[in-house]
């Protein structure tokens, strides 16, 4: 089955962040709609507006799963709302073939005073299902949501976890769509439930065209057959290779340099070497698993005592992934004396997952542990691999026959 289910041609949408103006434009749009004018006017921006989505086109077939990635405010949700028919495009055309389902507003229409069971019927009706269909599946829903005997208690007595579990179960079990929209809904509940959700969604997606919005690149890489990167409403990339899209997304992450410490040391340069030659690119890309060396140049001014040096590698979220204390051959922490330092460091194979990384160089007083210099966001580099794996470190387990 290779029928095209979603066809988006040249779609744009304006957005106005100022409330007062936005309401007034709403009034104007209302008036022009009622006298039969096109939505979106002459295609020009009014004062205070910008393009939330600008000239986006793509097609999606059954069995395909499109990952929509980009920073907050890149236009992902606006695009999804247009596809879902909630708001109308200002230019272009959207064609959808088949039943549309969305796992977006979980538990929509839930009323806290009513019981879980009553709410299942209401939520089901909101999703467009009849009483009988819901009755047939209600036990499956209750079981999937792991609600048990609480199903006849008011929803306001539920924990937040139970609430989202019930919301997810209702939508996921009742919907059998041709087209499915998913917007950051998989991270509900604990890890056990998340895995259950993933499996269920995977089952639905097998026979549908799916548009999936997430900031979690692990989900994107494990679900999607195609990735679109949005930035400021524009389509930067539409690729059949999710790894390429994810790499592009990481590319856009900013690592900014921050320097702190007493100033009694200065990091002059840090170079990366692969196979004996220095990587001269601004943001070099290194294949996963490549052995890397670093060449570090430091000036030390602190005269009283020795200094120790640590390297860290941070990911795009600025959380440290690896700490690499600078050591002697015997594994003891090296102590350095005042003066100019030029050292080569063996970092070993780069076992990091696909992404964008930067170094932190941190120099401390060996005795007092006082920070003499700390440079963050230094020497940005990217790691590329054909696949994205779950995990920050990717180390192949070598097969050995016995």
């Amino acid at each position: 089955m290779t029928d095209t289910l979603i066809k988006v041609e040249n779609v744009s949408k304006k957005f106005c962040p100022s409330l007062k103006k936005s309401l007034w434009y709403g009034m104007q749009d209302l008036g022009s709609e009622l006298i039969g004018h096109r939505h979106g006017g002459n295609g020009k921006l009014r004062s205070g507006e910008f393009w939330a989505v600008k000239e986006v086109s793509f097609e999606l077939r059954r069995g395909e799963c499109l990952g929509l990635i980009g920073h907050n405010g890149a236009g992902k949700t606006t695009l999804l709302r247009m596809l879902n028919g909630l708001i109308r495009p200002d230019t272009g055309r959207i064609e959808m073939n088949g039943q549309v389902g969305a796992l977006i507003a979980l538990g929509a229409g839930f009323n806290p005073i009513l019981t879980g069971r009553e709410n299942i019927y209401i939520n089901g009706a909101v999703l467009g299902l009849g009483r009988q269909e819901i009755e047939q599946k209600i036990s499956a829903i209750i079981e999937f949501a792991e609600i048990g005997e609480f199903i006849d208690a008011p929803v306001q007595t539920y924990s937040s976890g139970m609430n989202v579990r019930l919301g997810f179960a209702v939508a996921a079990i009742l919907l059998k769509p041709d087209i499915l929209f998913l917007d950051e809904v998989l991270a509900v509940g604990d890890i056990g439930f998340t895995i259950k959700c993933l499996n269920l969604v995977r089952e639905i997606t097998r026979n549908a065209a799916v548009v999936f919005v997430s900031h979690n690149m692990q989900y994107i890489s494990s679900f999607c057959t195609r990735v679109m990167v949005l930035e400021h409403g524009k389509l930067l990339l539409n690729s059949l290779n999710p790894a390429e899209g994810i790499d592009r997304y990481f590319c856009m992450v900013e690592h900014s340099i921050q320097i702190s410490g007493t100033g009694e040391a200065k990091v002059k340069s840090l170079d990366l070497l692969v196979g004996g030659s220095i990587l001269t690119d601004m943001e070099p890309t290194i294949m996963q698993g490549t052995p890397v060396r670093a060449r570090l140049s430091i000036d030390l001014y602190r005269a009283i005592s020795n200094a120790t040096i640590y390297l860290y590698i941070m990911d795009e979220a600025m959380s440290p992934i690896i700490c690499m204390p600078v050591c002697n051959a015997d594994g003891e922490l090296s102590h350095f004396q005042t003066g100019e330092l030029r050292i080569n460091l063996l970092l070993g194979p780069l076992e990091l997952a696909t992404g964008k990384y930067s170094f932190v160089v941190s120099i401390h007083d060996a005795m007092t542990k006082e920070s003499l210099a700390r440079v963050q966001g230094f020497k940005i580099f990217r790691v590329f691999a054909e696949r994205t794996y779950w995990g920050k470190i990717v180390r192949p387990a070598m097969l050995e026959l016995y």
Partner: protein, 283 residues
């Protein structure tokens, strides 16, 4: 596999293709029935489950209104023109009928505002909200009328055969209320001024309608009463209930016909307005 349903979204105004629009309107109305029923059930349950006084709330307001007017009239603060009916019967029927009308006027904006989070994220037949509002108004009207009938019997009024036509009069009040309520909904969803101003406006309208006192016999006030489309509705409803022969059948039917047209127009407007309103809501 069955034929796939094709949906197309473009910037074209939906009014440009009336045939398609009409088709979609009725298919959505049909598709929204189940949802409307569930939503009405939910709202009615919630309304009464968390209220100690429960169903009393359906008629407490007109009851209080009646008491206030009986006091005003009885104490001689204001001298009202004599009514053909005993005054308590006149006021009580008037306030109950007015309360039904008010329920119907408030329902569209209330329902749509309450459903904002749903509207902003889920595509469901928007007609369901209106229908659910009408169901709820009907339910509450049923309670009110039950109380009214009981009160009339106690007060010694025996409804005549005209009683059989009384439901028609109640329906026309709900029709008028719904049409007027839908008229203010699109703008009311954008600006809260509308919702805030409504009680004020309705208060005035009530005093221009023979709810708590009869139609003045002369002067500019009489003209206003005559022009008020609600006058024939309330008068006819009251007459049918209390065994009088309605005098304003002509006006009654004209108002109903006009309100049917208004309702149809507002239905179209409501549909066309929805995506524009949702655009201005937070996701």
């Amino acid at each position: 596999m069955s034929e796939l349903k094709t949906t197309v979204y473009t910037p074209e105004s939906s009014l440009r293709n009336p045939a398609r629009m009409l088709r979609e309107m009725f298919s959505d109305l049909l598709a929204g029935r189940e949802l409307a029923w569930q939503l009405a059930l939910r709202d009615i349950r919630v309304q009464y489950r968390q209220a100690a006084l429960g169903l009393l709330w359906a008629f407490i307001l007109p009851l209080a209104n009646t008491a206030a007017w009986l006091f005003i009239q009885g104490s001689g603060i204001i001298t009202l023109q004599p009514t053909a009916l005993p005054y308590p019967v006149y006021v009580f029927t008037g306030t109950i009928l007015w309360a039904i009308f008010m329920d119907a006027v408030n329902a569209p904006l209330q329902q749509t505002t309450a459903a904002k989070p749903m509207l902003a994220k889920i595509n469901f037949p928007r007609e369901a909200l209106m229908l659910s509002g009408i169901y709820q108004t009907l339910f509450n009207a049923g309670i009110k009328i039950g109380v009214l009938l009981a009160a009339l019997l106690i007060m010694g009024v025996t409804p005549g055969w005209g009683m059989l036509l009384f439901p028609l009069a109640v329906l026309s009040l709900i029709l008028t209320g719904t049409a007027l309520g839908m008229l203010i909904t699109p703008v009311g969803m954008l600006y809260t001024d509308v919702g805030k101003g409504m009680p004020l406006l309705m208060q005035f309208l009530m005093y221009l309608t023979p709810v708590v006192f009869p139609v003045p016999t002369g002067g500019w006030a009489a003209t206003l009463f005559q022009l008020n489309p609600l006058t024939p509705l309330i008068l006819t409803a009251r007459d049918l209930l209390t065994g009088f022969a309605p005098e304003y059948w002509g006006a009654f039917f004209i108002v109903n016909a006009a309100m049917l047209v208004l309702l149809a127009v507002m239905w179209v407007v409501y549909r066309a307005a929805m995506p524009i309103l949702i655009e201005r809501m937070s996701a």
